[in-house]
Structures are given as C-alpha cells and as structure tokens.
C-alpha cells in the first residue's frame, strides 16, 4: 500500500493509505482527529475545511496522497497547549456563533484563512462573501459574521482583547 508522510498540527505522521483514501478519512479515521467534520461529502458545505500549507481547503475533496509532504492544520491544532483558545475560537464562543456546532470547525478554519489573507480588514459584506463555501443550518450566519469581525481586530493586533459581545450590540 502507498504511504503518505505529512505533518498534522506540527506532528509528523507516516501512514499507509489506499489510493482512494481522502484526506478527511486519514485525519478522522486513522489519526482520530474527529474535530474535522464531514457534512455533505460533495464538496459543498465546508464542514471539512482544514489548512494545507496555510490555505483553507475542503479535505473531503483531496486525496490523502495529494497531501504528501505538506503541513496540515486542523481545528485541534489551534488552541495553545495550555488550552488558551485561538482568537477566532474565542470569538465564536463570545458571540454565540454556533448552535449545534457541526459546521463550526470548518467555519473557524475558513474564517482564519479569510482574515489572514486580508490584513487591511474585511467588511461585513466581504466576510459574508468569504463564507460562500461554508454552510450553517442553525445560526442564520449573523453571529458567525459578528464573531469574525471581532476576531480580525485581535488577529491583526488592532485590539489586545476581544470586544465583548454586549458592547458590540
């Protein structure tokens, strides 16, 4: 069987896979990193979004072998070892940007890539357009958009702390 060697959340792994094994299957079933979800398996919902070499991608539409030699980051790789959440995770918590939570790992990973690619900051409209590849069946998106808007200020160093949800109302 072919082998794939890749780094996931900073840790190197070498795993035997089939040609058809998807990256998301490698992550969930072999490495037991079940934070990355499969919502549709048809490349549409974005629940499976992870970063490959810093770019957000749908891990249900990439062969594990295509990720050979890359650095993958999943939702499990965001918080600090002491449990401190990434500013985007913290913002999702603070702004109640999730209900059932199924879409959340993909939303957070997509949102981090979106914010990182726009150092000048994103308008509400740009945030909404940037989430085109992520579907949420619960929240109606409003609080997700607010969370991302708040997180970008912290990620770009414009605020040292997240604006409280109440204060933003």
């Amino acid at each position: 069987m072919p082998q794939v060697t890749l780094s996931v959340n900073g840790k190197s792994h070498t795993v035997e896979v089939e040609g058809r094994t998807l990256l998301v299957e490698l992550l969930r079933e072999r490495l037991r990193l079940t934070g990355t979800h499969v919502g549709c398996d048809t490349s549409q919902c974005g629940a499976c979004v992870v970063h490959i070499d810093g770019e957000s991608v749908k891990s249900c539409t990439i062969l594990a072998l295509q990720a050979d030699g890359t650095q993958v980051t999943t939702i499990e790789g965001l918080a600090k070892p002491d449990g401190t959440l990434h500013p985007m995770q913290e913002a999702f918590r603070e702004y109640h940007a999730l209900q059932c939570g199924f879409c959340t790992p993909g939303m957070v990973m997509a949102a981090i890539d979106l914010v990182q690619k726009h150092p000048a900051g994103l308008s509400e409209k740009e945030i909404r357009e940037g989430l085109e590849g992520n579907l949420c069946r619960c929240t109606g998106y409003h609080n997700i958009v607010k969370a991302i808007a708040a997180a970008q200020d912290v990620m770009h160093g414009r605020r040292s702390e997240l604006a409280r949800a109440e204060a933003a109302e």
Binding site: S43, T61, I62, L63, Q66
Partner: protein, 264 residues
Amino acid sequence: MYDFAYHKPTSVADAVKLLAADPDARPISGGHTLLPALKHRLNKPSSVVDLSGIAELKGIRREGDRIVIGAMAKHKEIAESAEVQAAIPALAKMAGSIGDIQVRNRGTIGGSVANNDPAADYPAAVLALGATVVTSKRRIAADEFFQGMFTTALQPDELLVAIEFPVPQRAGYAKMRNPASRYVMAGAFVAKIADGVRVAINGAGPGVFRQKAMEAALSANWSPDAVANIKQPADGLNSDIHGSAEYRAHLVTVMAKRAVADAG
C-alpha cells in the same frame, strides 16, 4: 469511490507515458471535479496521475502580446496574478468568481477547460478571446477545442499543458448564477481582439458557443445597446428544473449587454 493506483510524475513526458500505457488511467489536477465524480462511481479509473508535481505545467507569464497560463494554475493564482489583472482584467475577475475560496485554492484552469462543463466559466473566456490550447502533442485553436458537453479535442493520452490568451483591446464577462449551485445559468464573454469581435455564451446550451449575430452587431457598434435587441433562439438550449430554454435565451441577451458594459 473505487480504489485506484496513484502516480505522481514530475514531467509531462512521464505523465503521458503513464496515460498511454493504461487506457483506464486518468489525470488529476485540482480534483474538484474528478473526485466528486469518482465518489458517485461515475467512472472507475485504474489509476490517477497527479499532475501537481510537474513544474512545466505551472506558472503564469506574459509573452509579448499573449498571456500564457499553465494548466496547473489555480483559480486563486489567476485571480491574483498581476499580469492577468493588467492585461485581461475580465479573466482575473472571472477566476475570482468561481465557486468559493476553498475551490479556488485547489481548482485549476487546465482541469476546468479539459472537463468542458457547459456551466463552467473559463471555456467562455478561452473561446471569446480566441485562445490557443497547448497540449503535450499540438496546439489547438479554441474554435476546434470545445466539442459540446464535457467533450473536447483532447485524446486520452494527451495533456493540456497551457493556454495562450491574446491580450484583447477590450473584454468583459457577465453571468447569472444558479442561486443554489452558484454555477452559471447563462453567461456571456465579449472580446475585441486583433481578429475582430468574439462573443461566447456559456451555461445556456449543452456546450459553450459563439453568438455570431452579436459579434456582427458589436463589430459595427461596440455598445450594450448594440446587443440589446438581439434575441438568442431558444432551440437547443438547456431546459431543466432551474430554468426553461426560453428563460436562458432571454438571459443570454441580458448577460451580453452586461458583459459589454463590464468591458467598458
């Protein structure tokens, strides 16, 4: 998905050898069309040949009065390319409008053009700009390349290597997206190039096609009004739950008008 062997050659010659040796082998570039199709078990390749390790297929460059885009250029790279933005802004904008960020981070122009989905974006730009498709064997004019729904002049062991776009005097694109799938219901790419005016319509028919009546009208008078009264016949256009052939025919005129306005 059925299982398959996986190869990752580092040259076009080696990739072609793998494809020629096995008629059931398939190239994979971004995989954002092929993998969804394989999940549906729509076909059963014995092996996939990953093109992402081939340096010859990468890159975007200006060569004189042409923009040459390698088959493996991703939608994101085309959207953000300073060369494309300067020479063919309508093409950069089109690339940035495909799917979503994650699709644009993986999908390639070579995969899209080789696939020739009637609702895909790039084929309209390739046809309207009179681009040349460079393959591992030959050079193919856009007019000969697209041969109807999911069909092109490519042979099974022939790789799309690059696309050469002549830099137009003007070019514009407009599309009506299906509100759910976001694929094109009807789109129009209009271009004024050295050889004259060309108009390509995507999404509306079973394959991308040229709208000659609009080309003639725009040659005489380059303005949105010139196409406003040209009716696209509904005969042979797509008709499905998303819209009738008559509706798509109507959209063709509206999109052509917007595309001319977009071109300025």
